[in-house]
Symmetry: D2
Subunit: 402 residues, 4 copies
């Protein structure tokens, strides 16, 4: 057993499909295929995404752990069939194909800079980079999004909402923050770059178009915000129970992410303490913060590795996609000669989609932390413990019990 | 069992001491008390640190797992006695002290903004914030540094070196990178702000002095660099095997860290792909990269969640210390009235020390990843597998085997 | 990440199928569908099994992690479709079926003694025992057997062989031991009760027939034997690294198992030390024992939580099947009245099949322990480390190095 | 993070002491040094134990995680100093002792059959068996007993009681079961062989005396019983969440244990189903079983990997001690010649002590399972969730909600 809410994925990009098993989901959670389909569709959208998205059109199929519309305590399994697999039956055959040639097998013998290709080949002792790139592909994130959809449903029952928006694409960025206002995803999903600032969104589209014209790619920064998170998830007592550590791992585990920050993040490093720390006052109406409130939320909802009850704010930096139309210098592994790397796909910018993956990962971390603190084999039990817990925290301060 | 090289800590800031158990250390690693003492001493230094450091003067005592100068395969236990504990015998008594008053028990009834105090009280149902702050204190990092010293010794046997330097303190920063040149710690340890650029160091000291004068505190950014890391640690195959995820968790688990980035990090989000990805060429003399080389190291030594063999470069953002001489607004928990938070310690800036903790955490992650890939119950076995593995990776490319 | 060779299953007995993801399989392991099919078929055989087996006729489909006949380092996913699912589309529908009645939904409202039914209902807050029994069913072991087939292939490459035989069915038992002689499965698979003693096998069949006539069921004891296991897997250093602990968990995790013993097992508790411990002598020809040999193998191949290199011998006690034709007293959950429990299936004895599951679990534990000690991302690397390790162990004794 | 209630030990038999860190203990658990001392003393008693026990006289010292008589959420650390260490300062020196000879270093060059000596030497590449035996020694179980004492306190707050008794020593055994009646430890602790049947106890003492006279040793079987365990701990949904698996691992992880069984155990394998499974009826007064009762408890309190609420009954087989006065044949590792193994200690029978270790391990497994189901960062929270959960389970059956 590992964690409370835990997922495991399998599947190659052009294989039969993606597979995910989610363990630790309490029984009695209403879960329908469209819950999963919705998030899978959100991951597929975005300005500047190439034709492959049309093929993927993921539609997850729940194949275990749900009966008659509800989870039953069993592991939940979801399959996301690959609609394009028919075209890859030889190249991605499970069985040996001794008669097929390199081309038919779509072997990749030029490792692509920025991808896992070269390192993976060396580590796993392979000669065909397809053995690596098929699994390293960001298509694996569809399985994470499916698992995240389950977590999102669970959190939804507890009044916790996870959303995201894009704050930077290449050189274009906005200072607009997602925590100012509710219903973040309604606003960001309305934009094909998932940016809630219309003027910035327009400039982002221009930047993408410009990069496309040059055969180049762009990365960016997205922000994930969770609202309604109760105070006290995670813990200060051990390094691996701290929620910031777990969020850091979750975010940097997403393909192509190179940085993560919480609250003020790197900006906090440049400011004096008096301008950083969030002063405390009393607010008996704010139940999820334990009846206290903060002057501001520079901490991004985390203090001492625990949630404060304020919105949880995480920003993640994504590098530009590694597959450029304008190819990068590499080495032909059959000859050792310099050569230009093969281009596997043609998106220009995937930050809007990555933000949806970021939501999924944060939802999973939070579902895990909620179950860690509150236990619960059924949603009824979880909700009862959860509500009693929040009430109890609101009575902890000695001045409240008198 | 958890991980390969795994540590567990216990201990309160003013308790008897800090305790750490390190599991998974191969037998036959030469390990002496001074190996641990050296890193503990490095953690204590730094311009702008208050008087408490004098008291701490940590000297770890190895109490298990080492016999006659060598590890024997058993868990290694290290105790770091607290020299100041004598003054805290009542307040930190293990046994109940029904006769002692609030003051004698040094109860903390005003939670300090920026600390774990308030959240911890609510979560754990306590009324005295000392029950929280004693464990949330950064003094726990002494135990991590002790564990990291064991990891460093192991890595040293394999030719892997971990160092750090400070690149920002408050508003002052440098662009100088630690990967340009060897022997990073020799250069950074020579500076009391652990900055390798003399002119910047001078300005850092001024900024600290200025903040001290105002009763304020400063955070900053440190960079940890590992050199000699072989290609192929970590993995692209599952989210929780990716080395970037594990580094992210390790760094954000350190008290007061709010951001982490690898290689170009957040900067990569603003650049086009053609300026980010590191082109590949052949270099048969570069064994640890598998006989390839990169045009640059924007990836910071990680591609696809695996090490590339180039220097591993991680930067971490630390918020300013939360205990200001100039106190922050809080709430008196006995009355519910607004009040000013108590000041527990008086350092102005702890970034140089935090960088040493960052080294420890990276060393631990790398020792774990090395054992994961290479196995080995003794150092002899590990080294043999390690060397054979590197040789094998240098022969993987088809053009080399012909 | 958890363990080195780790599996996760999902799936309900009458759902779409069973799903298993195996993590940690090195790249380059030749793996074909028939490797999996073979063990799945072996699990289905056995005298005294009812008609459901005909329906199951498991044929696992590898859907991820294998390309062109070889593993590629990715998680391996195997699906075992349920051929009978067509008849259960309403009762096991993922989506809500508000119009279907209790019968159509095949609700089970009488918890069956000996099953997970009652306890599961209470724990997970369900009212229909089908929500529990579908997952608690031993059909889940097909997924384990599929994972075990992967482990068996890996072990086979290292010359480690795992077999089993049945030593007791109900009152009938044999003293014949599986470690005396090679090729255990060839001998046991030849018997429909998987007993290698012909005369005992005959009596076992009679006992099964007799129980069937009475509407009763039988349990028994099977023995799993691993040969070729090298000395030094597992460890004495921590409780959760001991191989006996891990074997104990693996075996008692199989549905209906109530006891496990290693080597002499419970018999050792009755004998004096002089008749139990296995004396040591030198045998330079015995490489897998490190060049030593034992006077006998009462330890069952495990000393101090580590393999000795002698055959690993584990016996497991299975209780009789809980679904009797002759029903057991229970309670109607809708009325609270005493009632007789519903009979879900009609096998009389499943010990021969359970023995195959026991093989799978032992193979998985051993594959995990091999990777823990020897590392290896590819089979080439694993084999090289493995062989060098055995050679090294044969040179450890000082008298050998001189 | 691993598990909920998790412990890690370090320490060598003749080193400075034993060290244990217990993670996951809720805050607010009253815990005093004598709670730990009591169980440590119980582990030391027993007829037929040699002089070393006098030296050990363990008195655990709580050094972290407890303040003013209560846990505070932090990891609890306990040190058990070794009173005999003064005599071993050279042989067990942490620092190298190049001038000391083999005798002064108390090197062990004859591996003892039945011990970890030989296998450990080969695995870890050591030449002195002391490097192995110091950690493999059963003295490590003192650390487990200390951790178990913390678990016992936690369980005690929930009305769960864990006791044990000895049912076999060598050839002498009793059929008396510990679950028949309360307050098991009061009865077993009154006996120096921890047997609750006076006549059997007398014969056990005779058997021990007889073995001692022959220079031989004896093993035996102990039974651990937990009463007050609520229905629904553990789970049927995944192999590694099943409580029987976790109990199996915990028990076989104890030094010298060769078998474990639950309820009827191996006996169940010989009986027909109609005589094994425990029929179900209604008993609204029995809260911990969810308002049901069983006709008998052949299942030993576990069905489908979950507790039934009936007493949990586990029996464990211990092999005879491996250090006989009458030595066993081995090999001198310096010469390769046949030789007689060195005798490190002289107990004849340690089953009564092992039973106390078994209690500790079961208490730890149960504390972990309780926290898994009920969560809770403080004892107040745990108790509230626990009581609400039991009440909820008593209302699950549809006939009760109407």
């Amino acid at each position: 057993m590992q964690g409370h809410f835990h997922f495991t994925t399998a599947g190659e990009s052009h294989g039969e499909g993606m597979y995910v098993i989610v363990e630790g989901v309490p029984a009695g959670l209403a879960l329908a295929p469209h819950d999963v389909a919705l998030d899978l569709a959100r991951r597929q959208l975005g300005y500047g995404r190439g034709g492959r998205m049309q093929i993927e059109r993921d539609a997850g199929r729940i194949v275990a752990g749900v009966r008659l519309g509800e989870t039953i305590g069993s592991p939940v399994a979801i399959v996301i069939p690959n609609r394009d697999h028919a075209n890859w039956q030889i190249a991605m055959s499970v069985e040996a194909r001794p008669d097929a040639g390199d081309e038919e097998l779509r072997r990749v013998l030029l490792p692509r800079p920025g991808h896992a290709d070269l390192v993976g080949l060396l580590k796993y002792g392979r000669s065909d980079a397809r053995d690596i790139l098929e699994r390293a592909s960001a298509r694996e994130t569809s399985a994470r999004v499916a698992a995240g959809a389950v977590a999102r449903r669970l959190l939804g029952e507890l009044g916790i909402e996870v959303g995201s928006h894009v704050v930077r694409i290449g050189p274009v960025h906005t200072d607009k923050r997602g925590e100012d206002g509710t219903d973040l995803n309604r606003r960001s999903d309305a934009s094909d770059v998932r940016c809630i600032d219309h003027e910035t969104a327009e400039r982002m589209r221009s930047a993408i178009a410009e990069a496309a014209a040059k055969g180049d790619t762009l990365g960016g920064v997205f922000e994930v915000v969770a609202r309604g998170v109760p105070v006290g998830l995670g813990s200060h007592v051990s390094w691996d129970r701290r929620l910031d550590a777990r969020i850091g791992a979750a975010m940097l585990s997403i393909q192509a992410m190179k940085g993560v920050e919480i609250g003020l993040g790197f900006e906090a490093a440049g400011l004096p303490g008096s301008r950083v720390h969030d002063e405390i006052s009393v607010d008996p109406t704010s139940l999820r913060t334990g009846g206290f409130q903060r002057s501001r939320n520079n901490a991004g909802g985390l203090e001492g590795g625990m949630t404060t009850g304020e919105p949880l704010v995480v920003r993640v930096a994504m590098k530009p996609l590694s597959s450029l139309t304008r190819p990068l210098g590499s080495v032909d592994l059959t000859t050792g000669d310099a050569a230009e790397a093969v281009r596997e796909r043609s998106d220009v910018c995937a930050v809007p989609a990555a933000a949806v993956v970021g939501e999924a990962m944060l939802a999973i971390v939070l579902a895990d932390a909620v179950l860690e603190k509150y236990g619960g084999d059924s949603m009824t039990e979880l909700k009862s413990n959860f509500e009693a817990g929040i009430e109890r925290m609101n009575a902890v301060a000695p001045f409240r019990s008198s």
